[in-house]
């Protein structure tokens, strides 16, 4: 089922990209995600023979893990608009795989932006050249005691020395020593080989005294928790990472307190922009499920889609999907084309798209009637996946507070 592309300026290559990624999402990603979602034990997602590895491996062979990496480092180097097209299609197939692939890119994407030789040699090159899931990234920021506190810069308590992160780094010689624990919510935390790790360096500055390290996760002193059992996006493995006197070389620390707050803000602007693209895809998937079903199911002697009330509901779902694409494309293109980003637009994209996707999935479940809550139908999974998204990458309420502050600061100023 193809949607009408309202951007009449897409090039032939961009249209071809969309078609190719959609085909892959439909034929490979979605069937695998449905299969993995049904596993009772989340640990089974990562078993050696699991289809998770097959899908991630196929994406690596296609170079999908390098979409953010510039061409001169061997990546696909997609433009901001192409990135949006790419992520919408991947997430149309599965939100969980989109997040797993998204955080996979984080350590190397960051390393490529900084561009120092040690980072290119040790992180970017092995990541780009990986075709066998030997290099998998994650973004480790949330801690058991700190979720919203850690993620959102610019809150009134961000500089409060009484509120600091649990994972801490102290300088030792030319390198650093890390101690502490990241929460079970770290996507790919269970099996990632490398992390983009947000930690605390200077406790007297509160959360603002942070640092960012890009580290291999096979160092002595690193251990992992069990895969998390949860409601939605079950094809996405998540788990805690524990650091016990872990020594890292100096080149791994890519940001210290002087740049931390701004780097955190730039990271959130990118991550939230991606979430907007992901959940445009998921909202569209839910709408298409509802549309298809309404054209098949007969009640009161007519197809559901022939009932006027149903037509109005379908229109409202359609309108939300189109609005999602409109805002999330613009926010991604703007914020990946301007430094510093205007994070309030990425947040608006994330909050709007995840909320709209949840509402569309909710209405779609209603349209399916009893079948909507049965495990037999994909819409039941989409509903659970969208529920998690209201918390993932920042709870929508807290993100809204941070955006409001930025709007008051920037709008018309």
């Amino acid at each position: 089922m193809e949607y009408l592309e309202l951007d009449m300026n897409l090039t032939d290559e961009q249209i071809a990209l969309k078609k190719a990624v959609h085909k892959f999402a439909k034929e490979v990603i979605r069937p695998a995600a449905i299969q993995l979602d049904a596993l009772a034990d989340p640990g089974d997602v990562l078993k050696k023979e699991s289809i998770y590895w097959d899908v991630m491996g196929q994406m690596k062979k296609l170079g999908y893990h390098t979409v953010f990496i510039p061409e001169h480092f061997g990546g696909m180097g997609l433009s901001p608009l192409e990135l949006h097209i790419f992520w919408e299609e991947i997430a149309w197939g599965s939100a969980g795989f989109a997040v797993s692939l998204g955080v996979d890119t984080f350590p190397s994407f960051f390393a490529s932006l900084i561009g120092e030789d040690a980072l290119i040699k040790n992180i970017v090159e092995p990541f780009v050249n990986d075709t066998g899931c030997n290099f998998i990234g994650c973004w480790a920021i949330t801690e058991p005691d700190h979720g919203s506190d850690m993620l959102v810069a610019g809150t009134p308590y961000f500089h409060d020395p009484k509120i600091t992160g649990n994972v801490r780094a102290r300088r030792e010689g030319d390198g650093w020593v890390i101690n502490g624990q990241k929460s079970a919510w770290v996507s790919n935390g269970t099996h990632a080989t490398h992390a983009l790790l947000f930690l605390n360096i200077d406790q007297s500055m509160g959360m603002a005294g942070g640092g960012i390290a890009i580290i291999p996760l096979d160092l002595p002193g690193i251990s992992r928790g069990k895969p998390l059992n949860k409601l939605g996006q079950r094809e996405l493995p998540q788990g805690e990472i524990i650091f016990d006197n872990v020594r890292i070389p100096g080149w791994c620390m890519v940001a210290e307190p002087d740049t931390y707050e701004a780097m955190l803000d730039m990271t959130l602007a990118t991550a939230n922009a991606c979430m907007g693209a992901f959940f445009t895809g998921v909202a569209r998937a839910a709408f298409e499920e509802a549309l298809t079903y309404s054209r098949e199911r007969v009640q009161g002697g007519k197809l559901l889609c022939e009932h006027q009330l149903v037509q109005k509901k379908l229109f409202e779902m359609f309108m939300k999907v189109e609005t999602c694409r409109a805002i999330s494309r613009k926010a991604m293109v703007y914020n990946l084309s301007n430094t510093p980003p205007r994070t309030e637009y990425s947040i608006a994209s994330k909050v709007y798209c995840t909320q709209a996707a949840f509402e569309v999935a909710h209405e779609a479940v209603q349209l399916f009637g009893g079948y909507g809550v049965s495990k037999e139908y994909h819409i039941e999974k989409l509903f659970r996946d969208t529920r998690s998204a209201l918390i993932e990458d920042g709870s929508n309420d807290v993100l809204g507070l941070a955006a409001a502050e930025a709007i008051l600061r920037n709008y018309g100023a």
Binding site: P70, L78, S79, L113, G115, A255, D258, L336, N338, P340
Partner: protein, 130 residues
């Protein structure tokens, strides 16, 4: 008092730097092949520097920039002396940019000769290296 005496001196030094890069046997052809026009909006002293595949231009021009960088002239000086990195300068809002990151990144690996040449230009024009 900034590093550069005035706009004319800044144009002379940075113009020579970029012209050298565009004529460099390895980076030059790649810079031209990338086909990008970069506009530097500099302050203190104020001025505009255009790096185009056809050479370096200054002041108001009718080009369309692929990438635009806004920064103080002293920050440009520090950047070429490797006293500040691009991500750190961007994080501290000392450099702001417009234009996709991919385009900015395309140029970074070609800039090597500028780092070598800039200290020599500082010596030639009597600019401080600290």
């Amino acid at each position: 008092m900034g590093v550069f005496k005035n706009t004319a001196q800044m144009y002379e030094v940075l113009g020579e730097l970029w012209t050298g890069l565009l004529e460099h046997p390895e980076s030059g052809p790649k810079m031209k092949q990338a086909g990008l026009t970069v506009k530097y909006n500099l302050t203190d002293p104020d001025g505009t520097l255009w790096i185009t595949p056809d050479g370096v231009k200054t002041g108001d021009q009718n080009f369309k920039a692929d990438v635009e960088m806004n920064l103080a002239a002293d920050i440009a000086h520090k950047f070429w002396l490797k006293q500040i990195t691009l991500p750190a300068a961007m994080a501290k809002r000392l450099i702001t940019s417009k234009g996709s990151m991919d385009k900015v990144m395309k140029l970074l690996p070609l800039l090597g000769p500028n780092y070598e040449n800039y200290p020599k230009l500082c010596a030639k024009y009597g600019l401080p290296k600290e």
